[in-house]
Symmetry: C2
Subunit: 395 residues, 2 copies
DNA sequence: CTATTATGTTTGGCAAGTTAACAAATTAGC
DNA sequence: GCTAATTTGTTAACTTGCCAAACATAATAG
């Protein structure tokens, strides 16, 4: 199906993506940026206005010096032209984020997910949240798709293979969702979604190759190449947490020892800081803040704990840098309050230990915060429908 | 530039790729496969015939039972419509392969590259080979581009960072080539090229995600996603040889210890088999054959050597499988005669040790042989000009 | 020998972008 | 304040390339 309608499809997405990334622009400027004529842009904008996806904006009177010539009329994405719901299924909690057509969050919500709850309960909560949102006339008819993230192995067809933290296994979550929700549902690993959320909300960050690490209850990862997630054959790619970084160590949920995930997560941090092992649910969410304070106060035990965690993380990042030659490594997740000192500690040795000649990647921290997975999931749904990428030329 | 000419560009590449992959086909069949009308295909074929890229073929009288209806006239790529030269710069040797428009090798050649020779000498040999080929009227005007492979780190802009085996370093090879050769030259790491050659000559092998390992003098790798190489930010991606698979080990060319490359290569095999370390140039190319014979004869030392090498390789493949969730792992390179027993030994443990739930990749051996890098380099040039991929929709 | 079926070509139509001309809205200069 | 210059946005005529439909062609089936 490579005919004129493909050209229109491509140009439409190029136009919408430009407006999302650069903000409102007049037709003439759009024409220049997309290498189209003003005439073509006029036609496309007319069409998009009729479909309520873009709108004219009154001239912003921002005191900017105007150039000579007739001033342009800004065209902007119509924020409420479409909405996307992102859902994070987490440990004891579900988080929801609603994005508008500009991919900005317009609503967030957190609800408890009882420990031991199954998929039915989670789907019920999604249904309820969707109904609640739709009772608001603003969102009643514009929610187009849902993205759901889970903390573990999930195939791209929506089949959950294993979520050790939730004790969910072999579960056709996609099918179950499709049966109960009247919108397209996409299921994704939480780290993949968080990574995508980061590059989608920082467009300049997504060019090239980005390796993302999410350090929290576990340690997950994602790799993004030219704004596209590396999913692997079945959507299980970038299982960075199971990279082997030591000959021995605590038993991992995967059954092996030495996995990065067993050395780099909140529970491990607790272990390093207190020399006592604890069970998962006893690790407080406030742990990173507490350790950060002790660290700032020069506490020796906290310093040693960070040093130990950093050493394993470093070991993993060396391999990842050699394998992916990334432009940037982004670290996010619940460990956020401690990421600055960790990154400071890692940058130097990383530059030394990667293969000589391999350029040092930028080390960045994702500061989106606790809704990063939900926002990322919604961003993926947004991207699916409106972003310029992944147009299949083969069929 | 997304207008009707883009549609034609896409459809032309779809048509040429279909002919390359499936062989000669009549217009009606092409129309069905490309979802175009017979009328459109007629027009495109007329155009391509005029440009000498395709030609009509007399009906093959292969005794096949004919269907009812008017028989179609096969359209085939005109083999001599274009040629691409691939060059491998190796240790002591340069190999050349010329591909025609069907991406089949029509000429191969090996010449000595004196030990210690610099880039100037190598470029001189390329010039000479190109001149020799052009003295044949068949190739005089049809060679369109050159691909050159080097055994080590090279940036996508053609700057050679480090080739430890050749002692070449910090060398603007791309610029030097452009100055002396009147054709587009692309420089690529040898394992990347070999991987690409494998999937380009086995089209069904390139769908999805393929992890390629080249085991020879060194151990290099490449990852291919949907027929495209994962290059990384600077073209240095997939440095699989420097994946760390042990806490200690022989000193690697990268300055660290524990790299996969130091355990999995010809010299290491020699070491395992003889318990003596030797210098690189003393490792005979025939070593794999010799060991294979001893192995077949049940020789205990050879068996142990293969077991040792396999154990390190396995360790690397576990991480790679978890990281990339590949459809297939392909192993090639000078170790070829030993790859069958090695793969036999690895398959079982690999399935056990990857993350539970991660599908087991197919384990395949690339049997292209000694010209795999040269053929792959030429294939990359062919792909650049004629394959349906990497059409940039952003500009 | 005729009916059927499939291929390949021709003709006319449509979609979407381009070119070129023009009206509209602003600044610059006198 | 008026005119020239400049830039935006629209309109109409043109071009490209695919589609739809009709037709000529070449085979098989009975």
């Amino acid at each position: 199906m490579a005919n004129q309608s493909l050209v229109r499809h491509i140009n439409e997405r190029r136009l919408l993506s430009a407006l999302r990334v650069y903000g409102p622009l007049p037709r003439a400027e759009l024409a220049r940026r997309l290498s189209l004529t003003r005439a073509s842009v006029t036609g496309m904008v007319d069409d998009l206005v009729a479909r309520r996806l873009v709108e004219e904006r009154p001239a912003r009177d921002d005191g900017q010096r105007r150039d000579v010539g007739r001033p342009g009329i800004d065209i902007a994405l119509a924020p409420d032209g479409a909405h996307f719901l992102g859902v994070e299924i987490g440990v004891g909690v579900m988080r929801f984020a609603l994005l508008d057509l500009t991919a900005s969050p317009v609503d967030t919500e957190t609800v408890d997910l009882p420990t031991g709850a199954g998929a039915e309960a989670a789907i019920g909560l999604i249904e309820a949240r969707l109904a609640a949102l739709r009772s608001n006339p603003r969102f009643a008819k514009t929610i187009r798709a849902i993205g759901v993230t889970v903390p573990g192995l999930v195939r791209s067809d929506g089949f959950v293979i294993n979520l050790p933290i939730l004790r969910w296994q072999h579960l056709p979550l996609g099918t179950l969702l499709d049966a109960r929700i009247d919108l397209p549902c996409q299921i994704e690993n939480n780290a993949h979604a968080a990574a995508f959320g980061h590059i989608y909300s920082n467009p300049q960050a997504g060019e090239g190759v980005v390796v993302y690490l999410k350090i929290g209850t576990g340690c997950g990862g994602a790799v993004i190449v030219d704004n596209k997630l590396l999913r692997g054959a079945n959507g299980l790619g970038a299982e960075i947490g199971h990279l082997r970084v030591a000959e021995d160590g605590p038993l991992c949920s995967c059954g092996r020892r030495g996995c990065l995930e067993t050395f780099v997560n909140l529970r491990a941090l607790q272990r390093y800081a207190t020399h006592k092992d604890v069970v998962e649910r006893d690790v407080s969410i406030d742990l990173p803040n507490a350790v950060a304070e002790r660290l700032a106060a020069g506490d020796r035990e906290a310093t040693a704990a960070i040093a130990e965690l950093s050493s394993y993380l470093l070991r993993g990042l060396v391999d990842l840098t050699n394998l992916f030659n990334p432009d940037a490594i982004v670290i996010g997740g619940a460990m956020l309050p401690l990421l600055d000192p960790i990154v400071d500690r890692i940058a130097g040795p990383l530059a030394e230990q990667i293969v000589p000649g391999m350029p040092m990647p930028r080390l960045t921290i994702s500061r989106i915060g606790p809704f990063e997975c939900a926002i990322g999931a919604a961003a993926m749904a947004h991207h699916e429908e409106f972003d310029l990428t992944n147009i299949d030329l083969h069929t």
